[in-house]
Amino acid sequence: METSALAAATTDVSLWSLFMQAGFIVKLVMVGLLGASVWTWAIVIDKSVNYGKARRQFDQFEQVFWSGQSLEELYRSLSERPTGGLSAMFVAAMREWKKSFERGARSPIGLQMRIDRAMDVTLARESEALEARLSSLATIGSAAPFVGLFGTVVGIMTSFQAIAGSKSTNLAVVAPGIAEALLATAIGLVAAIPAVIAYNKFSGDAGKLTARMEGFADEFSAILSRQIDEKLAPRAAAQ
């Protein structure tokens, strides 16, 4: 079988024939790496769309938030439709605030803590959503070259066995088998390089977005804390 593959290789060295001549393991490696590449680019497209959307949302929300609009009105308009990012944190904090005041909060410190908790939980959820699947990018980026190399080693091994069988070291006999084996490494690198670049870029973007959310959480927490002091102080003085 191997000798016939070698004989055929001398006539046709296009990509498809190289793939078809490869052994079972090498084919499996190539198909797996192709799948990894597809997955990588799916993540890249998804993330770049999502991050762009999130950045635009953040900008819009910050514009609205700092426009001097009443927080109550803002909460009413935002709570009606499901949101993500900064607006989700705002909604979570405002919901906690409202519940506390509707039932009559006793301690301003307890209220502050509950609001912070609510915002932290939302922040964690949001940043998790941002960083989801980035780890698979990292895995593909680091493992794909090795998988491709594995395919190459197996391919070269089998092609050397075929050479030993054919008892000829003519370069025309040796070359197709090695080209076929190297195709595996090429596909591995094709999958890995975008994955590594995308992982670095998206993890940086996710870090920036998370930092922005944390900054908003701190600021909003400070605003609410001031509001609590203003609302609870007359009540405490009245008592």
Binding site: V13, L15, V38, W41, A42, I45
Partner: protein
């Protein structure tokens, strides 16, 4: 996420489809246009030894004889010329090339024709007398035959130009017919009768025997004279044997063709008469390999050692190794001399010497300096 996965898969499919369609087999390297560069390993001896060429032509890089005009006909021809047959004679300006190769008959044969002198006749008489001697041995009646014979030589003498070897046999046959008794005996081999003669002739006829013996001696002498005369007559020259053997006119040399411009060189390419530099270096290298050089000898760099030794065909040292040293202090000389002798003994048998050139490396003289030993 699903949408982006689909987008990614579609993009990959498109890219792969494009790659498979457009990136077919890469262009094969076109070997037809590139010209192969022949590389030849030329032993130095081919450069240093005499190359075939013309002695009168100006010196050029490549020695070449006078160019010939006809295409190559004889494979492995050695002599330059336009012939169809490889003749050894040097090319001479003659109009037609010879097509035949034939051995020449000796020139002297033409000379005897004008003068039917005594010398060729003498040779014949010798042969005849031997037959006479053969006859008297078996029969005790040799007397009448010499009497009868005198007319016979006279018959032969006028015929010397005719076929020579035929005549003795009719004589032999004619004699027994005259005499009925000795029918079977004339066939007896000739060398035997002379031995028997002295014993029998004494009883029968001493005179006849003596006469025969003396005739024979004379005949032998004459024959020798005739031979030497013949050899003196021919213009035999050892240097031109090829010419002598060749009856055909030495027209224009051999059949080896030359198409290069004539350049200085010898008549033939001489090869294998000297050890080439590489072979000599190889021999030297085998000695230095076995030479344990002790560094730090005083004035060693000034010493030149010359060793002489004989080798047999197997490369073994025969007899003693002579070594002489010049320059440097004598203590260093002695140390290096003994080291050289040891090295040669250990290096034998020498490898890589061409057996066909044994005459050239039978006696080896090699010089060494400390630089050769890496010191």
């Amino acid at each position: 996420m699903k949408r982006s996965l689909v987008v990614s898969a579609v993009l990959h499919a498109l890219l792969l489809g494009w790659a498979l369609l457009k990136l077919g087999a890469p262009e094969t390297f076109d070997m037809a246009n590139s010209e192969a560069l022949p590389v030849e390993f030329v032993p130095i001896s081919e450069v240093t030894q005499i190359q075939q060429g013309d002695k009168k032509a100006p010196v050029k890089d490549i020695a070449a004889p006078v160019p010939t005009k006809r295409p190559d006909t004889v494979a492995n021809a050695e002599n330059i010329g336009d012939n169809n047959v490889d003749l050894k004679s040097p090319p001479k300006p003659v109009e037609k090339p010879s097509n035949t190769e034939s051995a020449a008959a000796p020139k002297p044969t033409d000379n005897p024709l004008p003068d039917p002198s005594d010398k060729p006749n003498d040779v014949k008489q010798v042969a005849k007398e031997e037959t006479d001697i053969a006859d008297p041995v078996p029969t005790p009646k040799p007397e009448p035959k010499p009497v009868e014979k005198p007319p016979e030589p006279k018959k032969e003498e006028p015929k010397p130009e005719e076929t020579k070897p035929d005549q003795p046999t009719p004589d032999e046959q004619a004699l027994p017919k005259d005499v009925p008794v000795p029918v079977a005996k004339p066939r007896v081999e000739k060398p035997k009768p002379p031995e028997k003669k002295p014993t029998e002739t004494k009883t029968a006829d001493a005179k006849a025997a003596e006469k025969a013996a003396s005739d024979k001696k004379k005949a032998e002498q004459k024959q020798e004279q005739a031979k030497s005369a013949a050899s003196q007559k021919s213009d035999f020259n050892a240097d031109e044997i090829a010419d002598l053997l060749n009856k055909t006119e030495p027209t224009s040399g051999g059949a080896k063709r030359s198409n290069k411009e004539v350049a200085f060189g010898g008549k033939k390419t001489t090869g294998g008469e000297k050890l080439s530099q590489s072979e000599l270096d190889g021999l030297k290298g085998q000695i230095t390999d076995k030479w344990t050089y002790t560094a730090g000898l005083e004035g060693a760099e000034d010493v030149v050692i010359e060793v002489r030794f004989s080798l047999d065909e197997g490369g073994n040292v025969v007899g003693d190794v002579e070594a002489t040293a010049t320059g440097g202090p004598s203590s260093t000389q002695n140390a290096l001399l003994s080291a050289a002798k040891r090295a040669i003994r250990r290096a034998a048998p020498f490898q890589g010497l061409p057996p066909e050139k044994y005459d050239t490396w039978k006696d080896v003289i090699v010089q060494f300096t400390v630089a050769d030993l890496g010191g």
